[in-house]
């Protein structure tokens, strides 16, 4: 299944300086995520109707589909970011390891801490150094760490995000001084520092050049054993490169956004069951 993952020059021929440094996360095990009958509204406008998706632990799931079909909205429902928008409402359930994250007794902040998010546009905190950006989540969640643990955490997260070797000599420089691709990997490192069980990525490479995109894809491949990843992408090749499972979203004229087909990425791309999926993955529309 990891066809192109291992083959397509992941390590670029040369051994990666970051890899194999014995840096293993000590966080929680990756968790499965199950969405059941999710609907979403912005004001009076419904945008998603009865979407169900199952994300197995320690896998990469790609959400594909044309613009405006609700992929990002669905992704934001998975970590309760949707409700931060004015007038946004949802229905349905989202289970993290079998527990409804929208259920009573679940604190919003805890949910978001366990289900991290990387955004389309890199958004490091510009007033903070690279090191402070990595540990920003600790301050935000009032997690106290000792000084030496903090140093270790910074190295570990930057290494896992594939950025350590590029920034280790300038950790006190502002995060905003990095290139776009580096900023995005810094954002991934920042998300990893709060030990999420799931990481959601909303078109993380759409603002990046091909080289940076490849670096992020390498990072995703290295992370997937430790954290479950759900990625929205407009790039079909990217979906086949990074994901094991995929879901095709579509909002046809006159109907609401939803999943047309989901399953193993290889099956979805090579033997789509639905004609619309076939048309889309073969570039006939969208």
């Amino acid at each position: 299944m990891k066809v192109s993952l291992d083959g397509a020059g992941l390590t670029g021929g040369a051994p990666r300086p970051d890899a194999g440094a014995g840096v293993r996360p000590v966080g929680p095990a990756p968790a499965g995520l199950d969405a059941l009958g999710v609907c979403a509204w912005f004001g009076q406008t419904q945008v998603l109707d009865d979407v169900s998706l199952s994300v197995p632990p320690a896998t990469v799931t790609a959400l594909i589909g044309p613009s405006g079909c609700g992929k990002s909205t669905f992704l934001r429902i998975l970590n309760r970011m949707h409700e931060s928008t004015d007038g946004a409402q949802m229905a349905g359930e989202v289970f993290l390891n079998g527990e409804d994250i929208y259920g009573p007794g679940h604190r919003l902040t805890d949910v978001r801490k366990q289900i991290g998010m990387v955004f389309q546009k890199p958004n490091p905190f510009p007033s903070m150094s690279i090191a402070d950006n990595v540990t920003a989540g600790l301050g935000l969640t009032n997690t106290k760490v000792s000084r030496s643990d903090r140093v270790d955490l910074i190295e570990e997260c930057l290494t896992r995000a594939g950025l350590w070797s590029e920034v280790k000599d300038r950790l006190d420089r502002p995060g905003s001084a990095l290139s776009g691709g580096q900023q995005q990997r810094l954002c991934i490192a920042r998300s990893l520092a709060v030990r999420p069980k799931v990481l959601l990525m909303d078109e993380p490479c759409s603002a990046l050049d091909p080289t940076s995109t490849r670096r992020i894809e390498d990072t995703i491949a290295e992370l997937q054993d430790d954290v479950t990843i759900v990625i929205v992408t407009h790039n079909m090749q990217q979906a086949t490169r990074v994901s094991q499972r995929a879901a095709f979203f579509l909002a046809e004229p006159g109907s609401l956004g939803g999943i047309v087909e989901q399953g193993d990425t290889v099956d979805l791309f090579e033997h789509p069951r639905d004609e619309r999926t076939s048309d889309y993955v073969n570039g006939r529309f969208g």
Partner: protein, 340 residues
Amino acid sequence: MTTTVDLAPPPAPSSDPRTPRRLSPGLQPSDRIFHGGATVIGMVVLALTGAIGLFLGFQSIPTLHYYGLHFFTETQWLPELNKIGIAAVLVGTVEVALVAMVVSFPLALMLALFITDYAPKRIKSWLISTVDLMAAVPSIIYGLWGFYLLQPHAINVARFLSQYVGWFPVFHVDTDPNAAVWQQSRYTSSAFIAGLAVAMMAIPLACAIMRGVFDQAPLGEREAAMALGGTRFGVARTVVLPFAKGGVIGGTMLALGRALGETAAVLIIISPAYDIKPRILEAGTQTTSALIAGNFGNATKSQLSALLTAGFVLFLITLAVNSFAAVFIRRSRSGAGTEI
């Protein structure tokens, strides 16, 4: 009527091709009219402010010529005895303004943060218009409010402060705070009470500017902080406040400029006293603008010149504070798009 716009000027073969070309903005007639009108209005504002400054400056010449540096070191204002100076008045002005700042800064900051980051949507607009309404209340009303409603209660606070932190010169009052029958009049008409009334006027101004910059905090960074599990306070601390630092300082400085010049409310509350003293809780102080307002009515020509000189000094101080605020806001990240 047709307008010909010369789009293609004839080539000038004699000029060096490496010199930058003169580019004409190529404005439409409507643009030209608006451009001209806006320029004139802008210039009029500058000219008016400059003219006020020049007028005050010219009027100050006789006074400054006559009294020299003594005008700045003399504390008393006794034209009959030919003793005139603004040392005590300037200290009083600064004291009232500082009390107003210390009170209004935290209130305005929290109010602005509540409006942008905490308040439910329905309350938000209601709250914004209420705060704006605070700015529309005439200052004389705040003066009456301060004198009749606030003062009877504020003197208890003043006495409490002088009882417990009176060892600190700022909070000392020259009377026995523990006396069985305490001397209430020693606590009235002070810089403290005037400052409280001025704070009410400074709050809406500072709050409006802070709200403006808080609202500009980038959504991407806010969402990043939220997605990390941040609380609202965490988002405010990590994203909004660092972003808005320049705007917060600039807004505070603008409010300070307002507080320095406040007249009517101060005039009602304080009782004039011309001593340099740090004791803000004690009865009696004087500010520059209250001095002018209280004395110009029966001033002789030379006294008027002295009052205008005091006004000139206040004008320069306020100008400096506001210019500093403007520079600060413009240089900060949050202020890049804000003009104050």
